[in-house]
Assembly symmetry: C2
Homo-oligomer: 225 residues x 2
DNA sequence: CCGCATCCCCAAAGATACTG
DNA sequence: CAGTATCTTTGGGGATGCGG
């Protein structure tokens, strides 16, 4: 590596910023670029390698991903970590400051889901969508207790505000939804069609109430052509 | 107007979307483009005319603003309204769905302010920054009661979760901060330097506790070159 | 393979001028 | 006042290459 290379590497600065002394504007300076918040969303559930991250973000070019990772690292949102010798790979993980973006992602998701419409076909959803949804949307506001969620083939649970894969031991309430669509309509429109709850139904409704988006009329769901 | 014009107007579609069945991704499809959330931020405090909006967003070209307004209107976030005859002008205002973005802006601001640093000089701040800050950050979580805020020359108050300009009648608690910087450090770092509270201090601390960002270590404040 | 860097193309951002 | 037209610049998106 020669001097030119070093200079070239170092001069990759020159960011485009809002010149605005406002917390929201500054937040957008750090995570407002395209794909940035989706990178954070993925890392909310644990560290990931570059390739796995790329696989979870189809449509994001590898160069863009590399750029975002650099920017987010420079902004103190995430950090690169080298795994101990046996595994010669490295992972990206959120810093505590990056983890603090969870409420932002949560509010965005609560807002966006109302105009998103129910999942159209199974292929749209990742296998771990239920755990992720529970972790970002339900767990942060869950009352004390143990909840089990069965949606279609998937099962996950919440105990004391933490999410676990699979069924729970001695759950206080067990929700069973026919499919992701039923779960969607329960969450967004409070429709109990295709949904049953066993156990402490009041406790479950308390959770649902705490987690649900405020009911304002959203525009018609965007239908993919 | 001829056919070409109409066609030209109609074909201005072709948006760039994340193809992702996730609420957050869909939210970013609607308000994730550059300047979009700042437009929403401005409109949170009431309808604005095009020119006033442009004036509040220096750095945003008029064409970009026009594009964002079109996109946001198409997305059901805001609406264009013609004022009654005497005033021949029109204003942009948030729809109820657009108003529901307030928690998103709020969380963004809470997150961003921790790495923003205190305001450096007075010119950075708009004259109504205090009212806006109270409205988005404090008011939504304010306990019942009346609060008065005196920060430097500015005075505003909160009663029953609503913000009013100027002092309050019979406030339960009155905060007085020497300058915006003192207010910043109180909010972000819980430093009472340059700040005094008269009246029900416990009630005020309750408000502060409810409104403050969780205390995680943020990266060093970004210093403008 | 994994983790990027480089190249090319085009869509969007940014700046400025101009018009009903 | 409320935008549109036009031009330049920047950054995203896709493909490919390449060192470790």
């Amino acid at each position: 590596m020669n001097l030119e290379t070093i200079t070239k590497t170092a001069e990759t600065a020159s960011k485009r910023r809002y010149e605005d002394a406002c917390g929201a504007a500054h937040a957008l300076d750090l995570v407002g670029e395209r794909w940035a918040l989706l990178v954070v969303r993925e890392l909310l559930h644990g560290p990931l390698r570059y390739t796995d991250l790329a696989a979870k973000l189809p449509g994001c070019g590898t160069n863009i991903l590399a750029n975002r990772l650099r920017d987010l690292e420079a902004g103190g949102v995430l950090a690169k970590r080298r795994l101990p010798p046996p595994a010669a790979s490295q992972v990206y993980e959120l810093t505590p400051y990056g983890q603090a973006l969870k409420p932002v992602i949560r509010e965005l998701a609560l807002w966006g889901i109302r105009s998103l419409g129910p999942p159209n076909f199974e292929g749209q959803l990742e296998p771990d969508w239920l755990e992720h949804a529970l972790a970002t949307v339900f767990a942060p506001v869950a009352p004390a207790g143990t909840f089990e969620f069965k949606v279609g083939e998937l099962v996950a649970s919440i105990r004391d505000g933490e999410v676990y894969p699979g069924p729970a031991e001695e759950p206080d309430a067990v929700l069973e939804a026919r499919d992701p669509s039923s779960f969607y309509f329960l969450f967004v429109e409070r429709s109990w069609d295709g949904v049953t709850v066993e156990g402490d139904r009041d406790l479950f409704e308390q959770l649902l109430e705490a987690a649900s988006p405020s009911a304002v009329d959203a525009p018609a769901a965007t239908v993919a052509a």
